[in-house]
Symmetry: C2
């Protein structure tokens, strides 16, 4: 591990992914460690968006539904995301939001286990997953929710023959803790339950092997590590073996077997298409096309290696530079159990993060006390890790964060 | 009514809305009569989109959630649409798709009438409305669907004390037939049912008076007459008097009372916000902002007057110029019962429309035999109506549409 800034520079010089940074727009004077919340802008995205607006919409008008391939975009982009998550062609579709896609696959999974009335998730799940599960089971009768972790049972204890579906985040949005997907999926299957994986914090952060793990369903977003832009459409995965039986209740016309027959009754399309609902918000697909052009050239094993080297380095440097300054590493120290972020607790985390952002180091804050730093291997450098820790140490030791202007709490997504 | 092209030119010269046409990009050599499917590009939209991409995303990055007002956009834009549909501040939110919003308000309405197990809609509804209703009632027990029209009962006959919710399109997507909203709503209310209005083909086509009609719920899209761009986000309306009790099942974190508390249990926000679900697809909101800048300057009574004058003119000219050429007007001849489109039946409607499009007159086709022509008063001129009918007559009388290259049927949304 590098122990000086110039050693970090050497790491950057030797980094096989280093040149990818040039493919992104990054503001002057900013060290961006929040790509796990909103990824950076790919250089070619603005042009792609302008083309969709000015040529496809402005000149093509309604004709672009066919001529520019608008109708097929959800499936075409799904097939481009598939290799990033170990899925096959026809197993992924890009549409709607993560929450809505979770509702679809969760409801589909429940219907595949009609005699089981327990659903399992984690207390530490990103809350919208729990809320959408609550919304779905609220329409049905007699479901019980078991939350593992945070003083609740372990997954092993929570599983029994009453459990229909398990919904888990592959990487925890706060701590960055990584589940062992193959072991967990196997455990759930042994009890006859289906598993829905939320990949929001793992897609583009590390290789995901849905197929090899015999995963059932998955959802994820494209605006974090995938750099699809603010609120870019989410994706969902349904294992090919489930596609004939799985039915989802947001049964809009784009999931119909023959949408242009305008029939009065719903008949689901074959394959993953039945998980589409309605007209895609096309403009939000355009930057994702530009971003996936970059992803096609990324070796995911190199990505993972760099990610862990950066997060290891960050942890080491925080230990070394910020000792005695009130920080506590909240992420797993074991690299194998970690995604691509490091969370650090501080009793006054909110003003500390505000002060850091003012100095150009952008991470984010999660109540009550977590500073989150995301390390996106496509555009973060080892020197950024070094510099960020120096700023963190300076903010803490100078106590600049006690300044009154950092006290007001604003929302940060 | 004008009876020559030069009289049409005089109508355009006298048209108080004529200057609005300059605010749109319209391709050379095209008469665009499909703004009821995808509206034209506002001149300022490309710049607004570029600003969101390059400045707000590229430079602002995660900070734009607060600094650029991203988080509040669904409510802010909802309040800007409200005057177009006779709604008040805080009664409209812009999010998701029409289908998904229909699911939300329909499910909310059903829950407000728990002892009634019949839902009523129209056989001629845009099918996704029927499909989403089917998806929602499929999760629940024992619901019956009654479809009015097309050989089924009338609304009056379908209504009784078992009817929970009536879902109707204000303007029929095929024929352009306009429901009398105040009469229908009153009739449904007299039987204790709630009404969901689909405004896709009326918002921006004519003044809508949800408040005055005591409407309960409504949904609609922004990519037709509102010119929000391909797949721009939809809106939904919930009457203020229902907002405290109405609960919807797509209960994602953006509808939570305190999304940044990251609680494990869902608690709906006050007001219309509880009808939001998840992260908005922001890029798709940007052109709508540009479009609403134009709408703020539009007098809806002048809009309606021009719309009816154009559709009346089109019907008259088709009667006059295309007599004996196999056409049959499918839209109401009574202007008060018509939206802003005219549908014309022809046994070979599909190749006829293909041939027309090749001549630069863009309408669309709905199986089995409908040619649809939309008249968007912001950018269609009286001379366009004249010229379109001349082309239609020429296509029909020359029988150019019998050309083999028009035979292949492609999807057109």
């Amino acid at each position: 591990m590098p122990t000086t800034r110039s050693e970090c520079e050497q790491y950057d010089a030797d980094d096989p992914l280093a040149s990818l940074r040039e493919e992104f727009v990054l503001p002057e004077g900013v060290i961006y460690l929040d790509g796990n919340s909103l990824g950076a802008l790919p250089q070619t995205a603005a042009g792609r968006v302008a083309d969709m607006v000015e040529t496809e919409w402005g000149q093509g008008l309604i004709r672009s539904w066919n001529d520019a391939g608008w109708f097929d975009k959800p499936g075409v982009l799904g097939d481009r995301i598939a290799p990033l998550i170990g899925a096959g062609t026809g197993e992924v579709v890009v549409c709607d939001s993560t929450s809505i896609n979770l509702f679809k696959v969760f409801a589909a999974a429940l219907a595949m286990r009609p005699d089981r009335k327990v659903v399992v998730s984690e207390a530490g799940s990103f809350p919208t997953d729990l809320y959408m599960m609550e919304g779905a089971t609220g329409l049905l009768d007699g479901y019980e929710r078991r939350l593992i972790g945070a003083g609740g049972p372990t997954l092993e204890d929570a599983l029994d023959e009453d459990v229909a579906v398990v919904v888990l985040s592959h990487v925890d949005y706060r701590t960055g803790r990584l589940h062992d997907m193959v072991t967990v999926t196997e455990l759930a299957h042994r009890h006859g339950a289906l598993v829905v994986w939320d990949l929001c914090h793992s897609v583009g952060a590390l290789p995901v092997h849905l197929g090899d793990c015999r995963a059932d369903f998955a959802v994820g977003c494209t605006y974090k590590y995938l750099n699809g832009g603010p609120g870019s459409p989410a994706f969902l995965y349904v294992a090919a073996r489930h596609q004939d039986v799985a039915r989802q209740p947001l049964s809009g016309w784009h999931g119909h077997a023959n949408p242009f027959a305008f029939a009065t009754d719903y008949r689901p399309a074959d394959g993953i298409t039945r998980f589409r609902c309605s007209t895609p918000q096309l403009l939000s697909y355009a930057p994702l096309e530009a971003s996936l052009d970059i992803w096609e050239r990324v070796d995911l094993d190199l990505l993972r290696a760099k990610s862990l080297r950066m997060t290891d380095l960050f942890i080491e440097l925080v230990d070394q530079e910020c000792a005695g300054l009130g920080l506590d590493i909240a992420s797993p120290r074991d690299a194998d159990a970690r995604g691509s972020q490091v969370a650090v607790r501080h009793a006054d985390g909110y003003p500390v993060m505000r002060a850091l952002i003012d100095r150009g180091v952008i991470g984010d804050f999660r109540a009550p006390d977590l500073l989150r730093f995301g390390f996106t291997p496509l555009y973060v450098r080892y020197v950024d890790v070094w510099d960020a820790v120096q700023e963190l140490r300076d903010v803490l030791s100078s106590e600049v964060w006690r300044d009154v202007r950092y006290a007001t709490r604003a929302q940060v997504t």
